[in-house]
Amino acid sequence: MPLTLYNFDLDESCYKVRLALSMLGLEWETIPVDVIPGKEQLTPPFLSLNPLGRLPVLKDDDFTVTGTEAILAHLARTYDTSGTWLPAQGENFTKVMKWLNFSARDLEVTISARQHMLFGLPGRDDETLRTASAKMLRIMDDHMIARGFEGARWFAAAHATIADIALFPAFALSRDFGVDHDEYPALRSWARRFRKLPGFLTMPGIPDYH
């Protein structure tokens, strides 16, 4: 059953889906969407796939999935035979949900910050966006420091889950919106571990190293 991703390479949410597809060892086709400068995602053929006019969109055969976290969950539940990327039940399942919720709601400001600073898309002023984004990264860093004291190395479980995939780009791309990595040592260590996962991919703004 063919998987098709409607994709824009510079979009970090599309990158999350590409990461999940690759780390799950799946094959997929890509349909490029001209977001910048074409605004193709706001035109009728695309709006019929997602009336919100937002990427990513995944087609799994004739099943259309929108919403980044929903796509990650769909891929993990459908294709991850190990059952680790989205634990089936228990506290680890709930922890993954908590961080997916954080990704969808609280990390939105990091997406706005990056779009505003890279592409000049409308948003609040640079400093407000940068401060609000740094606050979210600090919450993530605090969490990973505390996890370290419990001997845990991933956000939600003893192993990587789709929560780690959902959270990685905001940190890895933070220099795009003017937040350096110096003050987030626990996230730096976590990002280094994340890069070593089989199937890891980069995107523009995330070099092969660092």
Binding site: D142, I145, A146, F149, G151, E183, Y209, H210
Partner: protein, 194 residues
Amino acid sequence: MKLSFGFVRDDHIDCLYHGWQYDTGGRCRYIPAHPDLTVPETIRVTAYSALERAGMIWTTFDPQSVFPLAPEETEQAVPVRSIYLECGREQVLDMLRPASFQPYRQSVAANTEFRSLGSNLYTLSVAEDTLLIGVQTISGQRTALHIAIAGTLEAYEGRGQAHFFQWANTLRHRIEENSRHGLSNLSLLTGGAH
């Protein structure tokens, strides 16, 4: 190109740009584009002295500067965390001096003792527990505190670290509240002047 973008390989650091390799003294030892070349001694980068002490790495821009030698109690340290604060060094120290904490190894109530072990290293002690606090001045309005526990991993790993992690987070919160409060007082005063 910053050398910090490069890679540490064995005891050399490799520049990301053209792979020039520098030794621990900052002298260039190998240029990949000219593998047979004996690299002239004049190709070097500035080396800064560095020291690991109290669970932190210390360095200075001043080549003449001598590191203050802290007492032996700082030799073994267990890291807790760093906190970054939007205020000046003096403001942070004013909050740190009267700070207190619940000891980890003993649950008795005791006074907190604040000491200076040199210009940028302080300790807070209660009963058997001592925290090592490095104060890093980033700018006039930005200061970092690097916090470690004096002692061994056997004594503090895990739960002990978590105990002082919570303390550090509360301290950060209090300093930030104080800083915000101070700012709002300032703007009130400014408002009154107009």
